[in-house]
């Protein structure tokens, strides 16, 4: 079908819980598939997004690759959406913000219990870690926010159906949760 709404999704410094919650749309995914097609997404394995209508971003920004991906999404998506607690305020990954990065790396790769062959990964292919995990609205302009850890399938449904049917998206009280 021509003129399907093009949706891209990604998980940055997230746990894929928001994507799992999205899949909780269950049979409503079939209704959604009539109206949208997925571009770049873990669901499709397409590597780069092009000319999308809606970009759904899970997770905050913790390394240089996250920044590049986020900017690619902003450049290629008309509407960019922060999905879940981590995208909105950094979430649990941001709890490392109170510990110097060097100490985090030492604990994980040098001094932690059960570490074998201790060395801090330094392969040139690895993205550099940022000193702090940041929410995505501090890096690019975000159009809408879906709070929750994760946002329920009903939140995705309400938001997407509002958009697809030409309404200004809104979430009633019982769909707004930060936990």
């Amino acid at each position: 079908m021509a003129n399907k709404i093009r949706v891209a999704t990604t998980s940055l410094a997230g746990c894929f819980g928001c994507h799992m919650s999205f899949l909780d749309l269950d049979e409503r995914l079939l209704q959604l598939a009539e109206l949208v097609e997925f571009d770049r997404s873990p669901i499709t394995d397409i590597e780069h997004c092009t000319n999308c209508d809606i970009g759904l971003i899970e997770g905050g920004v913790c390394n240089s690759e996250n920044v590049h991906v986020l900017r690619e999404f902003r450049k290629n998506c008309k509407i960019l959406v922060a999905v879940g607690a981590c995208a909105i305020n950094g979430g649990l990954p941001a709890m490392r913000n109170f510990i110097p990065l060097e100490e985090c790396l030492n604990e994980a790769y040098l001094e932690g219990i059960g570490v074998e062959n201790p060395q801090i990964p330094s392969d040139i292919e690895l993205p550099l870690l940022l000193d702090k995990v940041r929410p995505i609205h501090e890096v690019v302009k975000i159009d809408y926010f879906l709070p929750g850890c994760p946002p329920s399938a009903d939140v995705f449904w309400k938001f997407l159906t509002d958009l697809l049917e030409g309404r200004e998206p809104s979430l009633p009280y019982d769909l707004v949760h930060y936990d």
Binding site: L92, M95, Y173
Partner: protein, 239 residues
């Protein structure tokens, strides 16, 4: 004849000496608030109860009601301001709801839900703050303190003690306890004190109770704070 004010066009009776907040609560009109508690002296610091009185912004919890006042409360402009204030409270501390024992029972979170706050808007501070788990029954997580001083006032005015205080100014403001060591265990705080239960956020918690009620079955998961507030704060609610 009763003296009256109007709030959003509704006529509200008041008695001499009542604040706008007290008159509103008695008439079952909710004004959002965090640092106000009807049994404690008003503090006027959180500014969530900002209303327009005859065109000027005032804190409803401190401003005395007076004959003929025209008060605006539940308007889009004022609620937008309140949402911005709430966002500032969130970014100035470390409020990670998914990992907080208070989630679902938290007034800060509930006010944010009530104001349909979906994002933080401002850059996050991520201030480095400590925890004090020294007391056998009560813990302080300074990450979640919003400096409402409810614990300070409850300890002084209700418990007859002087366990808490706010020290420092501006961005250096922080909650302190009344002990040479600076530790809660060396104060005379008891887990049954009002000061240990009055915190509107997850900053002061009773140990070993955090997950007795599962997430999803908690107070504000199913009831909006405007209703909860009037039920708990107006003894004549619904009459």
């Amino acid at each position: 004849m009763n003296k009256t004010i109007t709030i959003d066009g509704k006529t509200i009776p008041f008695e001499d000496g009542q604040t706008i907040m007290a008159a509103a609560t008695a008439a079952d009109v909710y004004i959002p608030h965090l640092c106000h508690h009807p049994e404690l002296s008003p503090h006027g610091s959180c500014k969530l109860c900002t209303v327009k009185v005859n065109g000027r912004n005032c804190s409803a919890c401190t401003f005395p009601a007076a004959e003929g006042q025209d008060v605006l409360n539940n308007t889009k402009e004022i609620n937008d301001d309140r949402q911005k204030i709430t966002q500032m409270l969130f970014v100035e501390g470390n409020h990670f709801c998914p990992s907080c024992e208070k989630t679902g029972n938290c007034q800060l979170q509930a006010v944010a839900y009530h104001l349909n706050m979906l994002d933080n808007h401002f850059p996050l501070f991520y201030p480095k703050r400590e925890m004090d788990a020294s007391h056998p029954d009560v813990m302080i997580d300074h990450n979640r303190c919003i400096f409402c001083t409810l614990c300070v006032r409850a300890s002084q005015q209700h418990d007859g003690k002087d366990v808490f205080a706010i020290s420092g100014r501006g961005i250096n403001k922080h909650l302190i306890v009344n002990a040479q060591s600076g530790l809660l265990k060396d104060t005379d705080l008891d887990m049954n004190d009002k000061a240990a239960h009055v915190c509107p956020t997850g900053a002061i918690l009773i140990k070993r109770t955090g997950y007795q009620v599962p997430i999803g079955q908690r107070l504000y998961d199913h009831h909006e704070i405007d209703q909860v507030s009037l039920v708990t704060e107006n003894p004549h609610h619904g009459e």
